[in-house]
Symmetry: C2
Subunit: 429 residues, 2 copies
């Protein structure tokens, strides 16, 4: 696959994350316009809400871009997904349909500079599920807490282990994250206390967005699951390690993960990622038949985590890893998710689990990078970090590298705000 | 509090679950009408959608009963909740407003026999969270799996332990439940296999429905949490014990609970339950201040679980217990849920956790009743049960007993269908 040329010239740079090969979907607003659907092309955004209003673009019988989220469009299904992509390529390609490129008045209205736009949540998150499918991550965490001999739980090589997360606090990149309060019990304390998290962490993940639902009571195949996925985002599963340590037995993480999850602003479609498919790694145990992939369903996506303290000139890159490190693909996770008969719906978000590579600089969380706080990390500023401080900005980013082009997601950024004071309870009146 | 008399005479029986003191909210349809909002009164349902259309009833500036769920009404907030209740009491009380009672034509259109109606989900479940707040239940389960010495996890007496559940498969009473498939690893097997659950169970719970949201990043007090609760339902948290045993370490239950959760059809409001408030039990550890209740926030509600095999003439009552057995109230659970800054939304459903009393016949699950399958239960038919068989119907029911009246919820019923075959994966084309 080569770079496809667009008349939007910034889309033809080998460095842009948004060439014509990508066409990721987002929701943006400007000083003039309320939040609306758009597609990134080079350093611009094409306003699909306006194009639909103007009749230049039409998918299905009813408008779907008159709402500031992509769920309505996803509902139309795979044929509509393909039709829109085909139409957009035609409208934006060099030498394609001149409806926009040949109409200066329209062009100036429907193309907005990304630098003039604010991004919003691209879709309504129906439910959020987070997996734990990175082998290096699970091994690192397991080694820290249970020793190297018992690092992986016995089920780990057989099941994509996951838990239901909290959808209400999934936010778009750029949203500040408030340091959570919670019950904390330091190892040497007899009793817990309630206070601000002291071990606040990032988890570098990918998120898969379900675009086609399944039926309650009806499992699906891995192949079906793959086709149900509308696209992918980069995801930061912010984690309060000290809250988690005290609360998680026996029912898993709850408030330690519930205060916030950030996603990158652009949904990169499965179609755009198609050239980057790669297989899950070799396994010492064959998977059970329902989980076997009929083809490669992971993707080769280079990922990075950088940390910038408040007031620092620039961020320090702490992690470079790749989505292909995962032990289970999103398709396998989704198949497992529906295996009991659990109904999956349009807008469900599936977190991959933390993506760590085998090397120290490939670890996708501070817990692993600082080995539980025992080996603090030195930033380029000379400061050290074991966990996040107030004012720190964490940036996750990534792209798939094609032959002379890149498929990117937009950064997934969040800055830590200080904890609030706990509310005081009032006597009952 | 005494029985309030209604001109709907069936509402004046001391046995009815739906006297004028109750006025629970549901969604129903008939052969003539699509699903719509209604309130139960005696053995009838008052059609609020039609009353709003006719202008007899009006809450807020816009219609809220033109949709087949109660979320829109909940959004209006506490003042509207009180106004509607006041207006309904006036319209239905003996000697009250005669707009309906004095208009035979209207009366025959807006009052529908419950026996002619089909019930639907009364609200859209935004997110579902399930707690584990019954001390007898947690002690029983802990004793079975870890021995009596270590029955309660160290955090249990300090935190209302909960996990995020799956909202997509919360269904109304009367919906059949398909036996789930899943990964199973019997204790003596080396490797897991994929197949139908063999240890299918009920969990007798109450569900609290959030009617007022909170803000991301902002904890709430217990008193605020109590006021955010719109009402309560009876809830069956169907559980696949064998799937759970293999999957739940380290992130908690996932597919073992994701295939279905049933709720009773009528939302009983906090106002109706007000006379039945009772306190949580004495504690050996003081709760942390953020969790302390400024007043009684549990309710005295008698609950029952009955099991009827396919073809049996009648059900066998296996469990009689009470919601007052819980260690944490729904208000405490909701307060803890928001403690990290987790945003709570209108339509969130909070499961209490299994409600078991101290005695054997008070246990709220088959796992406890049959002590892990070691002591099968004998039904009135002479059949035995350790877990649910295909065709079994589980009925949960309950009411608060007032002075000459009862506040009921409607039964929470589900029948087990046989497992489907696993879908076969197809070669990728």
């Amino acid at each position: 696959m080569q770079l496809k040329k667009s008349w939007v010239t910034s889309a033809n740079s080998p460095e842009t994350h948004f060439p014509l090969n990508n066409l990721p979907y987002g929701v943006f607003s400007t000083d003039e316009n309320e939040p609306r659907c758009g597609v990134a092309i080079g350093d611009m955004i094409l306003d699909l809400t306006l194009l639909e209003e103007e009749g230049v673009l039409s998918v299905g019988d009813e408008p779907v871009f008159d709402l500031p989220f992509w769920n309505e469009f996803m509902e139309l299904g795979a044929e509509a997904w393909l039709d829109l992509r085909t139409r957009l390529v035609d409208l934006l390609a060099e030498g394609g349909d001149s409806a926009i490129s040949g109409n200066e008045a329209l062009k100036s209205r429907v193309l907005v500079a990304q630098s003039d736009a604010q991004m919003h949540m691209p879709f309504v998150v129906t439910e959020f599920t987070d997996f734990y499918a990175g082998r290096h991550h699970a091994t690192n965490i397991g080694t820290m807490f249970r020793g190297a001999e018992n690092a992986l739980p016995p089920n780990w090589l057989h099941i994509p282990i996951g838990y239901n997360g909290r959808a209400s606090t999934v936010v778009v990149s750029g949203t500040d994250i408030r340091r959570p309060l919670g019950q904390l019990k330091p190892p040497n304390a007899d009793l817990p206390h309630f206070g601000a998290c002291k071990r606040l962490d990032v988890e570098l993940e990918m998120g898969a967005i379900v675009g086609t639902g399944s039926t309650m009571g009806q499992p699906i195949t891995v192949a079906q699951a793959d086709e149900m996925i509308f696209g992918y985002v980069i995801l930061n599963d912010w984690s309060a390690r000290d809250i988690q340590a005290w609360e998680y037995q026996p029912l898993g993480p709850f408030q330690a993960k519930a205060f916030g999850t950030s996603i990158s602003p652009w949904i990169v479609t499965r179609a755009a990622l198609e050239p980057f498919r790669t297989s899950t790694p070799p396994r010492e145990f064959d998977l059970l038949p329902y989980l076997r992939e009929p083809g490669p369903m992971l993707y080769d996506i280079a990922l990075e985590f950088a940390l910038q303290p408040d007031g620092a000139d620039k961020a320090t890159v702490l992690t470079r890893t790749n989505y292909r490190e995962m032990y289970y693909s999103a398709a396998q996770q989704l198949c497992h998710h529906a295996s009991s008969g659990c109904e999956m719906n349009v807008g469900d978000l599936i977190g991959s689990g933390t993506i760590s590579g085998p090397e120290k600089h490939e670890r996708g969380s501070l817990l692993e990078l600082s080995w539980g706080g025992k080996e603090p990390i030195v930033l380029d500023t000379g400061e050290t970090r074991s966990f996040l401080e107030d004012g720190d900005t964490a940036t996750l980013s990534g792209f798939a590298q094609g032959n002379g082009y890149r498929i990117g997601f937009g950064d997934c950024v969040g800055t830590i705000l200080p904890a609030v004071e706990a509310p005081r309870d009032l006597p009952r009146t």
